[in-house]
C-alpha cells in the first residue's frame, strides 16, 4: 500500500526514527496504524492512556474525590469565558465600567459569558474549599503526597490573587474600594508596606495604572494556574490518589482502572456541578454580585460597608477580628500560610480521620470555624459577629499549631484494615472481582506509575 501511514509497521531503522532510546510509545494491540504513527512521534495517545485510562485508582474513592475534577471544569469555564471577555474589555479607568456594561447589554451573548465567568469564580472556590477540606480530613497531605499538597496550596493562593485582581476590573464601587482595603492592609506592613503598595498600584493612588496592572496580572495568572494544575496532576500521578481509608494501595485487588470506573463516577459529579452552576448563572445572578458594583468607581464616595466576595469572607473576618491593622493582616495571611505547613505539623502516622477519633472531632470543629468565619466576614465586625470571628480565628490557629502536633501523641487510633480490598471482599473473590468486572484490563496496568518511565 502507498499510504505512508502504514509505515508504522516497517522497522524503525527504515523510518529514520532513532531506536537508541526506549520507545516512548507503548500502545498495546487494538490501535490503528494512524494512532501508532502519531504515537511513535509524539506519545500523546499512550500518555493519555496511561494517565487517564488504565491509570490504577483505589477502588474505594467516594464522591469527595470528585472535587479536583470539578475545580478543573470550573477553571476551564473561567479561562474560556475569560478569553471572550478580554476581547471586549477596556482596561482604563475611564472605559472599564462602560465596557463591562456594553458586554452585558450590547455584545452578542455577552451577558451569558460574563455571568458564567462570575459564577465560575464562585464555583471554583466552592470546589477548592471542599477539595482542601477533603484532603485535610483524609490526611491526603501526608507522606508521600507532601509536594502534591504544596502544589495544591500554591494553586489556592494563585487563585485568590487572580480572583482579587479580577474583581477590580469592572471598576465598580466595590472593585475600587476592595482594592483600596487591600492596598491599605499592605501599606500597614512596617518598612516595606508603603513602597510595596505603591509598586502594586503603580502610583500613590489607585487609578488607571493600577487597573492596567491588575488586568495583566489577572490575565497572566489565569494561564499560570493552568500550568500549576499540570504540576499538581503530575505530582498526583506519581503517588496515585489516596483514599478514604488512608492506607496505600497494596496490589491490583485494591485498584480499578481510571476509565471507565472513575470517568463515569466523575461524570455524575460534573453534571451535578454544572446543574448548580447553571442555577447560579440563570436564576441567582444576584448572589454573585454586590449591587454597589454596578455603580461606577468613585474615589470621593466611600460605600457604607465594604463587603468582599463570599470566598474571601473567612479571611476578611480574620483581618477584622483584631483591632490592629498590621496584626489583622499578619493573622489573615497566616491563616492561609499555615496550611502550607500542615504535612509537617501533623505528627500522626495515620492518614484518615476515620481512624482518628480525636482528630475527627477537631476536623469537624475546623469546618464549623471556617463556616463561622465566612458568615462573620459578610457582617460588620461588631457585637456577636466580632466575638464569633475572634473565637473562630482562635480555633483555626489552635487547630493547626497546637492540636495537629499534639494529637499524634495523645490519640489512640482505631485499628487500620489490612488492605483496601480485603475488608470488603472475601479473600477468594478479591482477585476475581477486577477481572469479573468484564472490562478489558491491560496487562501491567495495575503497577504502572509515571515514575517508572
Amino acid at each position: 500500500m502507498a499510504d505512508p501511514l502504514t509505515s508504522s509497521t516497517t522497522p524503525a531503522a527504515m523510518t529514520g526514527i532513532p531506536t537508541s532510546r526506549a520507545p516512548a510509545s507503548t500502545l498495546p494491540d487494538g490501535y490503528g496504524p494512524r494512532s501508532r504513527w502519531l504515537d511513535r512521534r509524539l506519545p500523546v495517545i499512550s500518555l493519555l492512556r496511561r494517565e487517564y485510562v488504565v491509570y490504577p485508582t483505589p477502588r474505594n474513592l467516594n464522591y469527595l474525590w470528585n472535587f479536583g475534577a470539578l475545580a478543573t471544569v470550573a477553571l476551564a469555564m473561567l479561562i474560556l469565558t475569560g478569553i471572550f471577555l478580554a476581547i471586549a474589555y477596556t482596561p482604563t479607568a475611564a472605559g472599564a465600567f462602560a465596557s463591562v456594561e456594553a458586554i452585558d447589554r450590547q455584545v452578542g451573548s455577552g451577558w451569558v459569558i460574563r455571568s458564567t465567568h462570575m459564577a465560575g469564580a464562585s464555583m471554583v472556590f466552592a470546589a477548592l474549599y471542599v477539595h482542601t477540606f477533603r484532603s485535610l480530613y483524609y490526611g491526603s497531605y501526608k507522606e508521600p503526597r507532601e509536594v502534591l499538597w504544596l502544589t495544591g496550596m500554591l494553586l489556592l493562593v494563585m487563585m485568590m490573587v487572580t480572583a482579587f485582581a479580577g474583581y477590580v476590573l469592572p471598576w465598580g464601587q466595590m472593585s475600587y474600594w476592595g482594592a483600596s482595603v487591600v492596598s491599605g492592609a499592605i501599606s500597614s506592613l512596617p518598612g516595606i508596606g508603603h513602597p510595596l503598595a505603591v509598586w502594586l498600584q503603580g502610583g500613590d493612588t489607585i487609578g488607571d495604572v493600577t487597573l492596567h496592572r491588575y488586568y495583566a496580572l489577572h490575565f497572566v495568572l489565569g494561564f499560570l494556574i493552568l500550568g500549576a494544575v499540570v504540576l499538581h496532576v503530575v505530582a498526583l500521578h506519581v503517588t496515585g490518589s489516596s483514599n478514604p481509608l488512608g492506607i496505600e494501595v497494596k496490589g491490583p485487588q485494591d485498584t480499578l482502572p481510571f476509565h471507565p470506573y472513575y470517568t463515569s463516577k466523575d461524570a455524575i459529579g460534573v453534571v451535578l456541578f454544572l446543574i448548580a452552576f447553571a442555577v447560579l448563572v440563570f436564576y441567582l445572578p444576584g448572589w454573585l454580585t454586590q449591587p454597589d458594583n454596578y455603580i461606577e468607581a468613585n474615589p470621593y464616595s466611600t460605600p457604607a460597608d465594604i463587603t468582599p466576595e463570599w470566598y474571601f469572607a473567612p479571611f476578611y473576618a480574620v483581618l477584622r477580628a483584631v483591632p490592629s491593622q498590621l496584626g489583622g493582616l499578619l493573622l489573615s495571611a497566616g491563616s492561609v500560610l499555615v496550611l502550607f505547613a500542615v504535612p509537617w505539623l501533623d505528627t500522626s502516622p495515620v492518614h484518615s480521620a476515620r481512624f482518628r477519633p480525636l482528630y475527627r472531632i477537631a476536623m469537624m470543629l475546623l469546618v464549623v470555624a471556617f463556616l463561622l468565619l465566612l458568615a462573620c466576614g459578610l457582617h460588620r465586625p461588631a457585637g456577636i459577629w466580632l466575638a464569633l470571628s475572634r473565637i473562630a480565628t482562635l480555633y483555626w490557629f489552635l487547630h493547626f499549631l497546637v492540636l495537629l502536633p499534639l494529637l499524634g501523641g495523645i490519640e489512640t487510633p482505631l485499628k487500620l484494615p489490612d488492605s483496601i480490598g480485603r475488608p470488603v471482599l472475601p479473600p477468594r473473590q478479591a482477585t476475581i472481582s477486577t477481572a469479573g468486572a468484564g472490562l478489558p484490563m491491560p496487562d501491567g496496568a495495575m503497577a504502572q506509575r509515571m515514575e517508572n518511565d
Binding site: 447589554r105 470506573y261 463515569s264 461524570a267 447553571a278 440563570f282
Partner: protein, 261 residues
C-alpha cells in the same frame, strides 16, 4: 456563686444597649422614611416576565420627563428593540434625538440626529452642569438604578408618588423637596409627575400612580434587560443537564455493577 462585679457589669452593659436602642429610636423619629409598600412585580421569580405594555409606557415617561435630568448612559437606542419595537420605530426614536457630532471650524458643537447604534443622549454636558442645575445634587444615572437603589423598583414607584406639601413643622434647605419615602424626608429632586403630564398612545390613563408604576417597570427592565432571555435559556440548559444526569447515572451504575466495594 457569681461575683457581684460580674452582675454589675452585666446590668451596666444592658443599660448601655438599651440606651443605644432608645437613642437610635429617638433620632430616627425625625428623619423617618415611611416603609415602601410591597409590590407584586411580574418579573419576580424564576419564570418572571416583563409586562411590556407597561415597560413601553414607562419608556414614554422616561423620555418625556426623567430624561431632562437623568442620564441612561449605558443604553443605546437599538437596545430598545427587545421592548418589541421594530426597526422603523427605533430609527424614528433615535432620529428625534440630537447628539453631539464634534465641532465645526469655529469650535461650536455640531449636532446630528442619532442612529440606533448611538448611546442615549446625556442631559448635561458634565457633572458640574448637572449639579448647577439641581441645587448642587447630582441626578443619578438610571442604567442600573433599579438594581442599586435600596428597595429597588418598589422604592422608585413609592418615591415618585411620595412628594407632599412640606408640613409647617419642617423646614427644608434651599432647593429641597419633601418626600415621605426618603431618609430625612428631604430630596433635591422636585415632584415631576402630574396627572396627564405624559401622552400615552395606548389609551391608558396617565394618572400619577400609573406613570410611577410604568416608569419603575421600565427602569427594572433597563437594569436587567436580559432577564427573560436568561430565564428561558436557563430552563433549556437545566432540562438538558437533567437528562444528561439520568444517562450518566445509568452508565455509572452499569459500569460499577460488577464491582463489589
Amino acid at each position: 456563686m457569681r461575683p457581684p462585679t460580674h452582675l454589675a457589669c452585666k446590668s451596666f452593659l444592658a443599660a448601655g444597649v438599651l440606651a443605644a436602642l432608645l437613642g437610635g429610636r429617638a433620632e430616627a423619629q425625625q428623619l423617618q422614611a415611611l416603609p415602601v409598600p410591597p409590590q407584586d412585580w411580574s418579573f419576580r421569580g424564576a419564570t418572571g416576565r416583563f409586562d411590556y405594555a407597561s415597560v413601553q409606557r414607562g419608556f414614554a415617561v422616561y423620555s418625556q420627563v426623567c430624561a431632562s435630568c437623568h442620564s441612561l448612559r449605558q443604553m443605546t437606542y437599538g437596545d430598545l428593540s427587545s421592548l418589541g419595537l421594530d426597526a422603523d420605530q427605533l430609527h424614528d426614536i433615535a432620529a428625534s434625538q440630537p447628539v453631539p457630532a464634534g465641532t465645526d471650524a469655529a469650535g461650536n458643537v455640531v449636532l446630528r440626529a442619532a442612529t440606533p447604534g448611538d448611546h442615549f443622549r446625556l442631559p448635561y454636558a458634565n457633572e458640574a452642569a448637572a449639579r448647577a442645575a439641581n441645587a448642587g445634587a447630582l441626578p443619578p444615572d438610571q442604567s442600573r438604578l433599579a438594581g442599586t437603589i435600596q428597595g429597588g423598583p418598589s422604592f422608585i414607584q413609592a418615591y415618585l408618588t411620595g412628594f407632599r406639601d412640606t408640613p409647617s413643622s419642617v423646614t427644608l434647605g434651599p432647593g429641597m423637596h419633601y418626600n415621605i419615602y426618603v431618609p430625612g424626608n428631604a430630596i433635591a429632586m422636585p415632584d415631576v409627575l402630574h396627572d396627564a403630564h405624559v401622552r400615552y398612545t395606548d389609551g391608558t390613563r396617565a394618572t400619577t400612580p400609573q406613570m410611577a408604576h410604568d416608569v419603575s417597570n421600565f427602569l427594572a427592565w433597563v437594569a436587567q434587560p436580559h432577564l427573560e432571555e436568561r430565564h428561558r435559556l436557563g430552563i433549556r440548559v437545566l432540562v438538558y443537564l437533567t437528562l444528561l444526569l439520568v444517562l450518566v447515572a445509568v452508565l455509572k451504575r452499569r459500569v460499577w455493577a460488577s464491582v463489589r466495594i
